[in-house]
């Protein structure tokens, strides 16, 4: 349903500006970088194959373990405690990736030499994603199979047979969608392969980063970045074409379904990643404290760097909030929504260098670039993850208000904004937390450590893992209010899902 010709024109214009802003890192690189050139095939084909392999293995492992944990989580049904359980299962996905990397390295090195390379990347991707898969499936399975499972149970079907005959065939489409989602995330992931990939574990994203570090090879980075974006776009297109499974059954038979389909302790599998991260963050703390006492230069850096982290986090929160609100004002805009569904942000490396090559290196400028760049990196995935599902249930109300003759401004102010504001504040809070923990993008645009996460990364590079672990705790504490807010907000929303 269209707006009048004049408002529609203004909306299209604003939507165009919005898209340009999102694409700006890529456009900046295109503008500043000289002629393009493909790197030697021997150089990138092998890297591409490795990128596919690690993404494939990560997605398969995340999906297998996530499916088992998801079925286990069904046992908790709709008890109030299940919402907290979901929160703890999702926890590794909500905290900055730096914490997961550091905790895993810390835990593993306490027992053995860290296995840099393929399996380290796959292991960390699995730690990050299996909880998300588990929670998604624990909600989807009763929705798709609840009524059918009830009937099968009453008619005496065995759990094993139900898994084989119903769960697998009827959930195949959802599983495929989740696979594609995790695969795309792992395909373009940056921080994990950068830190734990080692020499043999170079992915396309890391290769782009390496090419962009030298002015002479900038032109070779662009085709690689476009190749990567092309693959992600194709996957997103695949995701859009298939869409979610359309059938939905209404059944409250979740808890018994869980008891029928899973052995008693299977749900604990969902908590394993959180357990690993938390124990990793506790390992080596005493040594970290000793190192802290012996390094007054680090002590003097703590407060200024925490200030830097809060500044970046606060600015990103504000920018993400404003971007979401701008989008809510333009919503519903079919073309813009289609674009955002298929669009994945240019890689961290591309965005980083896009921002590095313009402007000065003054602190104000560098902080501004960090805030803008991180916003552009986080916004598309946050919108797809939570933003779209916040706006879409309001479409019926928008239609009614529009039919009444309400202007876009009135609909935004009185109908949309009051209902989406709490959820958008929550999304912005999560973005702030991620920004506080960012080191990958910040290290590209900043000439020296300006945030605590950057210092932690530098310490990791110097193999001072214990001290790095100690300094991660203030990061976690800064993000704790956002995490609790996330959990509380979930149950207080006008928006029906």
């Amino acid at each position: 349903m269209g707006r009048g010709p004049a408002p529609a024109l203004i909306h299209h214009f604003l939507a165009g500006l919005f898209v340009l802003a999102l694409l700006s890192p890529l456009l900046l690189l295109l503008f500043f970088v000289g002629p393009w050139a493909w790197p030697q095939p021997s150089e990138w084909l092998e890297v591409l194959a490795f990128t596919f392999l690690q993404a494939l293995l990560s997605a398969l492992l995340s999906l297998t373990l996530g499916l088992l944990a998801g079925v286990g989580l069904l046992r908790w049904g709709s008890k109030p405690s299940s919402s907290w359980l979901d929160f703890f299962v999702l926890w590794p996905n909500l905290v900055p990736v730096l914490l997961v990397i550091l905790a895993s390295m810390n835990l593993v090195t306490a027992w053995m030499t860290f296995p840099f390379g393929l399996w380290a990347i796959v292991g960390l991707h699995t730690l990050l994603n299996m909880g998300l898969v588990a929670v998604a499936l624990s909600r989807l399975i009763p929705e798709r199979l609840g009524g059918l499972a009830e009937l099968a149970y009453v008619e005496g079907c065995s759990a094993l047979r139900f898994w084989w005959v119903s769960l697998w065939p009827l959930m195949r489409r959802d599983l495929a969608l989740l696979f594609v989602l995790v695969f795309s995330f792992c395909f373009s992931s940056f921080a994990i392969p950068l830190v734990v990939g080692g020499v043999a574990g170079t992915t396309i994203e890391v290769l782009i980063f390496q090419k962009l570090r030298s002015v002479r090879t900038w032109g070779e980075a662009l085709p690689l970045a476009l190749l990567q974006m092309g693959v992600i776009f194709a996957l997103a297109f695949l995701l859009l074409r298939s869409g979610p499974g359309s059938f939905k059954q209404t059944s409250s038979w979740t808890e018994p379904l869980g008891r029928w389909l899973s052995p008693p302790g299977l749900w604990l599998l969902g908590l394993v990643p959180t357990g690993i991260v938390l124990s990793g963050l506790l390992t080596g703390l005493p040594q970290g404290l000793q190192q802290w006492k012996a390094t007054p230069e680090i002590q003097s850096l703590l407060l200024p760097l925490m200030g830097g982290s809060l500044l970046v986090g606060g600015s990103v929160a504000l920018l993400v909030y404003l971007s979401l609100m701008a989008l809510a004002y333009l919503w519903p805009h079919a073309l813009l929504q289609k674009f955002l569904r298929g669009y994945s942000a240019p890689s961290t490396a591309v965005t980083g260098f896009g921002f590095l090559i313009w402007g000065s290196l003054s602190e104000v400028m560098v902080f501004s670039k960090m805030a803008l760049g991180l916003t552009l990196i986080y916004f598309p995935s946050l919108y797809r993850w939570m933003g779209e599902s916040t706006l879409n249930p309001l479409y019926g109300q928008w239609q009614v208000a529009h039919l009444m003759g309400a202007s876009s401004g009135l609909i935004f102010r009185r109908v949309v904004w009051p209902q989406v504001a709490p959820q958008f504040a929550l999304i912005s809070g999560l973005a702030a937390f991620w920004a506080i923990g960012d080191f990958a993008f910040s290290s590209i645009v900043a000439p020296r450590d300006l945030t605590l996460a950057m210092l932690v990364h530098s310490l990791m590079g110097a193999y001072r893992l214990e001290l790095a672990t100690l300094l991660v705790w203030p990061l976690l504490l800064m993000g704790l209010p956002f995490l609790l807010w996330y959990q509380l907000q979930k149950s207080h929303s006008y928006v029906r899902r």
Binding site: M1, G2, Q399, A401, L403, M404, G405, A406, V415
Partner: protein
């Protein structure tokens, strides 16, 4: 009489094909038929929620199909009601006046009258989210009437109510339309709606109009 022409829509496996339809411009016209007959498609096309090239809908000498959906000035109650859950019943109703830029004193007068007619007093300041099904239904009707529409379009407005509440709601609708004689198109598959409310009935099956009475 308003005249609808060329109400066509091809969905591949379903075709809506209404070349000519005369809708009474007085009283309630009920469009009825089984599920999947095309009732809701007709409703959405007339509202302008979906494109329908070639459609003409002449009402009092004006072709409504040439106007944008808000310019058609139609009062609408969807089956899902679509109240704004964060607003009170009063704010929901006054939103329509604000949208149509009805003067404040006129809106207040109209609100007072609708409050009385639809018996809204006891929950007027309660948030829509907290209203019962019957209360929500009355607020949705008041909101549709507040904008002083040319025509009222109601899509299965009583479907979520139980029998007693349905009866009450029908009575209230008749009272309101008695005071505000707005031509109304009611979509329903409930024979009681036809029996108690409809001045004119039109049956639709497989996308085609069958009988007028």
């Amino acid at each position: 009489m308003s005249v609808v022409k060329n109400l066509y829509r091809d969905f591949g496996d379903f075709k809506l094909d209404i070349p000519h339809w005369e809708i009474a411009d007085q009283g309630i016209t009920a469009l009825w038929g089984p599920s999947g007959a095309g009732k809701s498609t007709v409703f959405r096309l007339l509202l302008g929620l979906e494109p329908c090239p070639g459609l003409s809908w002449i009402f009092q000498g004006q072709d409504l199909a040439l106007l944008s959906p808000p310019e058609r000035r139609l009062g609408v109650v969807f089956q899902s009601l679509e109240l704004f859950p964060h607003m009170s019943a009063r704010e929901n109703i006054l939103f329509a006046a604000r949208a149509r830029k009805v003067a404040t004193h006129r809106a207040q007068e109209h609100l007072k009258e609708l409050t009385e007619l639809l018996q809204l007093e006891s929950f007027l300041d309660r948030r829509a989210q907290l209203l019962s099904g019957g209360e929500k239904q009355r607020v949705a009707l008041a909101r549709a009437l507040m904008g002083e529409p040319r025509i009222l379009l109601l899509d299965e407005p009583f479907s979520s109510l139980d029998q007693d509440l349905k009866q009450e709601a029908r009575k209230l609708l008749l009272q309101v339309l008695d005071r505000h004689p707005i031509p109304t198109l009611l979509i329903s598959h409930d024979p009681e709606d036809l029996h108690q409310l409809a001045d004119h009935q039109v049956e639709i099956r497989r996308g085609r109009l069958l009988t007028y009475s």
